[in-house]
Amino acid sequence: MKSIKNHLSLIVALVSILFSIQIFVIVERSIDAYKQNLANNYSVVVVSQKTITQKQFFRINKLINEVKVLSPDNVIKRLNSGIDKSNMDFLKLTLPKFYKLHLKKYPSPREIKRLRKDLLNNRFVIKVEDFSNTHDTIYRLLVLFKNVVLVFAAVVSLVTMLLILKELRIWQFKHNERMSIMGLFGAPTWLRSAVLFRLSIVDAIISSIIVFVIFSLIASSHWILNEFNNINISVVIFDNVGDFFVLFGISIVLSILLASMIVLGHKEEV
C-alpha cells in the first residue's frame, strides 16, 4: 500500500502529460485529415482567353494538382435562342476557357493569395475565383481549434510539471538520507541513485501502459469511430506501436530527468 502511494503521484502526473500529448496528436491528425477532405472538395475556377495546357498550369504554381476543363455547353444552352449551328460553333470558339483547379492540399490564406497572383500574372488569365471568404473562415476556424487544443495541452503539461517538481522535493527528502548513508560507506553515485532510477523507470513503464490501455479503449470505441465517420474523416487515434513508443520514450526521458535532478540536488548530510 505504502509502495503504491509512493508511486501514485508520479504515475498520475506522467499519465496526465502523456494523455495531453496524445490528445493533441489526435486533434492534429483529425485537422489534417479534415483539411485533406476539404482540399479534395476545394477548387479554384480560372477564366482564360486562350487555352492553357495542364503542363502550363503546373508550371504556374506547385500547389496545383489537377486541372479540369469546364465545358461551355451549359452557358451556350442558355443563350441558345435561334442561333444557327455555324454561329454556335463560332461562339464556342470565341468564348473564354473555364478551368477548375484542384490543389494538392488545403491552402492557407497566404497560399491562396500567392496562387491568385501567379495565375493573374499569366497574360491569358482574365479572372480567378478562389472563394476566399468561405475558405478563410474555415481555415481560421481549424487553426483556432488547433491552437486552443495546443494551449490546453501546454497548460496541462505545465501544471503537471509543477506537480512533478513538488513530487521531486518529496522524493529528494525521502531518498536524501539513504543516499547520504550509502555515501558515508563509499557507494559511488550510480549505486546510491540506483533505487531512484529504478523507481522512476518503473513509474514510466506503468504510466505508458496505463495510457496505452486508455487509448486502445478509446480507439476501439464505436461512439468515437462514429463521430469521425460523421465528419467524413478517418483518423488513426492510437498507433499501438508508433504512438506507444513515442509516449514511452517521453515518459522515460521525463522520469530519468526527474531522478537526475534529485541526484544532482543531493547534498551529503553527516
Binding site: 550509502m182 563509499g186 549505486l191
Partner: protein, 223 residues
C-alpha cells in the same frame, strides 16, 4: 609499524572566522586502539568526521589509509570509505531497509557475492545478539539494538579502520558492554584500527590504547 593516520598541521573549521582544531599533529599506528576525549563542543566529532572526509581541511595534510584528504577526488574518497567502518551516535540506519539489509550495505557497496553476504550477516547478527530480529526495520528496535545493528554494519566488510562517535552515548549497560566487546574483539582478533570518540573510557576494556584529549582546539596525547 605502519601508520594508518598521519596528520600534519591540521586545522578544521566550519566557518571562516572560527577554528575548531588548530594546527594538530598526530599519528595512529595500524592496529591500535585510540580514544579521543574532550569536553562537549571541543571538536572531537569534527576531528572524527575529518578522518573520513566529511569535513574539508582548512589547512594542513591528513593522510588516512594512504589517501591524502586535503586534495582528494570523489572516487578516491569513496575508495577510502569502502575500507572504513563508521558508527554514529545517531546510528544512521536506513529506515526503509530491514536490519539484515542495513548490515549488508557495506558488503553490497564492496560488491561481495550474495552467499558471502548472507553468511557474514548471519554471523554478525549472532554476535550482536539480534538474529531473531533480522527481518525487522530499525524503528521497530530499541536504541541499544539499533546501535548494535550499526556496529554490525561497521564490522561487516572487515574494514582497516573503525571510527566510532560516542557509540555508547545513550545506551543501556547491556548494549554498551556488548559494543565495547565487539570493538575490543575487532581490534585484538582482526587487528583493525579502532578510533573512538567518547566522554568516558570504559575501565573494563582489555586493550592497550592511545588517548588523545582535545582542549581549546589542541590535541594532546595522554598516557
Amino acid at each position: 609499524m605502519d601508520k594508518v593516520i598521519v596528520a600534519k598541521n591540521v586545522s578544521l573549521s566550519y566557518t571562516a572566522d572560527e577554528t575548531i582544531i588548530n594546527q594538530a599533529n598526530f599519528s595512529v599506528n595500524s592496529g591500535s586502539f585510540v580514544f579521543i576525549t574532550g569536553a562537549s563542543g571541543s571538536g572531537k566529532s569534527t576531528l572524527l568526521k575529518s578522518l573520513f572526509g566529511a569535513i574539508k581541511l582548512k589547512q594542513g595534510s591528513l593522510v588516512v589509509g594512504g589517501v591524502e584528504l586535503s586534495k582528494v577526488s570523489r572516487s578516491k574518497l569513496n575508495f577510502l570509505r569502502r575500507h572504513i567502518g563508521i558508527v554514529f551516535q545517531d546510528y544512521k540506519l536506513v529506515k526503509e531497509w530491514t536490519i539484515e539489509k542495513n548490515i549488508m550495505m557495506p558488503l553490497i557497496i564492496n560488491g561481495y557475492e550474495k552467499s558471502v553476504m548472507t553468511n557474514q550477516v548471519e554471523s554478525l547478527l549472532k554476535h550482536v545478539r539480534l538474529k531473531h530480529q533480522a527481518g525487522k526495520y530499525p524503528l521497530e528496535l530499541s536504541g541499544g539494538e539499533q546501535q548494535r545493528v550499526a556496529m554490525a554494519r561497521a564490522l561487516s566488510h572487515n574494514p582497516i579502520l573503525i571510527l566510532a562517535d560516542e557509540p555508547t552515548g545513550n545506551l543501556d549497560e547491556y548494549s554498551s558492554e556488548l559494543i565495547w566487546k565487539l570493538l575490543e574483539g575487532a581490534n585484538t582478533q582482526l587487528e583493525t584500527t579502532v578510533i573512538v570518540v567518547t566522554h568516558h573510557i570504559p575501565s573494563s576494556l582489555n586493550v592497550d590504547y592511545k588517548h588523545f584529549h582535545i582542549e581549546y582546539g589542541t590535541i594532546n596525547e595522554i598516557n
